[in-house]
C-alpha cells in the first residue's frame, strides 16, 4: 500500500512538472507560431547536412551514407533536447523566474521534479523527429527495412536510450546547481561533445583511433548503432568501429550503462544539491 502511494505520488510530481515545463515552453505564442518555431530548427539542421553531401558528393552520395547520417541526426534530436531541457531548468527557475527556493521547500522530490521538466522537451523532440522523417522521405533515398521481429528490440533500446539521456540530463542539472548563469552553455557544450564523438553524422571510424576508444564507451553510441541496424535491417552498418560487435551485445551494453548512469545520477544529484545548500547558493542570481 505504501509502495503504491509512493509511486502514485511520484507520478503526480513528474506529471505536474511536465505540465509546468510544457507551459513554459509553449505558452509564449499561439500554437501555429509555436509549431513553426519548433519544426524550423531541426529541419534546417537536416538541410545543412543534406546540402553538405550535395556539395561534396553531388549525385554520387551513397544511400547507405545518407541513411546512416539521417538516423543519427534524428536520434540526436532527443539527445540535444532532453539534455538541454533538463539542465536549463535550474537557470530558468533560479535566475529568470526566481522561484527555485519555493520549489526547494515544497514537499516534492527534487530529482523527480527535474525529470518531469525534461518531458516537455521530449515532446518537442518527438515532434521534430516526425518532421525530420517527413523531410527525409521527401529529400533522401531512405530505406526503412525494419522487420516486425525487430520492433520490440527497437522499442526497448529506444526506451533505454531515452532513459539514459534523462539520467545524463540530471547529472548536468546537478552540476548547474553550483554554476553561475554562464553555465547554460554547458548543456550545448556537452551535446556538442556527443555530436562529435557518437558518430551522429559520420561513422565513428572517421575519428582518430584514440577518440574512437572514448566514442565506443558512450551509451548514445550504442543507441545509435542499434537503431541504425534495426531500422536498416542489417548486421553491420558502414561504421567499421562496430564491426564484430553483435546487436544483442550492444543492447546489453546500453542496458548496463543506463543502470550505471541511474545510480550515479542519484548519488551525484543529492551530493551536489547538498553542496549547493551548504554553500548557500541554491537561490543565488548571477546577473553579471
Amino acid at each position: 500500500m505504501a509502495v503504491t502511494d509512493t509511486l502514485k505520488r511520484s507520478a503526480k510530481v513528474v506529471r505536474s512538472a511536465a505540465w509546468l515545463g510544457w507551459q513554459l515552453e509553449s505558452n509564449w505564442a499561439d500554437p501555429a507560431i509555436f509549431a513553426i518555431i519548433t519544426i524550423i530548427r531541426p529541419l534546417a539542421s537536416l538541410l545543412i547536412i543534406i546540402f553538405m553531401f550535395r556539395f561534396a558528393l553531388g549525385a554520387s552520395a551513397s544511400a547507405d551514407l545518407l541513411n546512416f547520417f539521417f538516423i543519427g541526426n534524428t536520434v540526436y534530436l532527443f539527445v540535444y533536447n532532453v539534455l538541454f531541457g533538463i539542465s536549463q531548468v535550474i537557470f530558468e527557475d533560479r535566475e529568470h523566474y526566481e522561484v527555485i527556493k519555493y520549489i526547494y521547500i515544497s514537499p516534492v522530490n527534487w530529482y523527480l521534479y527535474f525529470i518531469g521538466r525534461g518531458f516537455a522537451r521530449l515532446i518537442i523532440a518527438g515532434v521534430s523527429c516526425v518532421v525530420s522523417i517527413v523531410a527525409g522521405l521527401i529529400f533522401l533515398p531512405l530505406k526503412f527495412n525494419m522487420t516486425a521481429a525487430a520492433v520490440p528490440v527497437f522499442a526497448f533500446s529506444f526506451l533505454l536510450g531515452i532513459v539514459s539521456i534523462f539520467f545524463m540530463g540530471i547529472i548536468m542539472c546537478a552540476l548547474t546547481l553550483v554554476m553561475a548563469r554562464h553555465g547554460n552553455m554547458m548543456s550545448e557544450s556537452i551535446s556538442g561533445i556527443f555530436f562529435i564523438l557518437c558518430g551522429i553524422i559520420y561513422p565513428i571510424s572517421a575519428l582518430p583511433v584514440w577518440l574512437q576508444k572514448i566514442s565506443t564507451a558512450i551509451p548514445i553510441s550504442y543507441w545509435l548503432e542499434i537503431s541504425r541496424r534495426l531500422i536498416l535491417n542489417t548486421d553491420q552498418t558502414i561504421d567499421a568501429a562496430w564491426h564484430g560487435v553483435s546487436t544483442a551485445d550492444l543492447v546489453y551494453r546500453l542496458g548496463f550503462s543506463t543502470a550505471v548512469l541511474f545510480a550515479f545520477s542519484v548519488v551525484f544529484f543529492y551530493y551536489m544539491s547538498m553542496l549547493a545548500r551548504a554553500k548557500g547558493i541554491i537561490d543565488r542570481t548571477t546577473s553579471y
Binding site: 509564449w28 534546417a44 545543412i48 553531401f53 550535395r54 554547458m186 556538442g192 562529435i196 559520420y202
Partner: protein
Amino acid sequence: MRIIGVNREPSWLIFELFFPLLPICAFAFVYKSMNAPTDYLGFVILGGAMTAIWMNVLWGMAAQFFWERESGNLTLYMLCPMSTMAVLIGMAFGSAFSTFFRVIITFLIGKFLFGVTLHVASYFWLFVTFILTIAAVFSLGMMMASFFLIYGRDAWNILTVFMEPVFFMSGFYFPVKTLGYPLGALASLIPITLGLDSMRQLAFALGPETAFLPVKTEVAILVVLTVVYLAGAKYLLNKLEYLGRREGRLTLRWQ
C-alpha cells in the same frame, strides 16, 4: 561591463571559447569522412569562425536588452543621457574580446587538426570584406535588439530561429551557390552570406570555383546593407523605445 563580467566568471571563457568549437569539428569530420578536398574543411572552419560572430550578434547584441530588462538595468539605461545604439555597440565591442579569441582558436584548430591552409588572393580585399561584414551584421543586430524594447519571451524564442536556419541559408558549412541563385539571393539579405562567400573566394584556392557573385559586387552589396540596416536600427530603436514607454513595457519582466 562585458570584460569585467568575463573576469568575474573565468569558466565562461571555457564554455564560450572551446566547447562551441565541437560542432564545427563535427562538420569538418563530415567532409573528412567523404575524403573531400582540404579546402572544403577550410570552408567549414571559416563558417565556424563566423558562427562566433553571428552568435555574438544574436545573443550578445540583439538579446542584450532582454537581459537588461530582466535584471532591472534597462530602466537605468533609459534614465542616462546616452544613446541606446552606443550601449549596444559598446556591448558588442566588449564581447569582441572572447569572440575574436574564438575565431583565432577556430583557425588554429583548422590548421593543426585538419591541415587547412589559406591561399589568400588579396589581404586588402579580405580585410575590407571582413570589416564590412562585421559592420553590416552588427547593424542588423541593433535592428533586432530594438524588438526587445517591447517584446519579451516571444522575441527571445523567435531569435532562436536565426540560428540553424541562418547557418543553413547563409551557407556556413557549404558554399551558398549550392542553394541555387533564387534562394541564395534571398539569403543575401543576411550580410554574413555574402561576407562568407567573398572571404572563401579570397582565402581558398577552390574558393573562386564556388563563387555566388564576384567579390566586388558582394562588397558593394555589403556597403548598401550596412547603410540600410544602420538607418533601420536608428529608426526602430527610437520608434520601439517610444512604443515601449507608451505601453509601459520597458519595465515589464517575466512576460
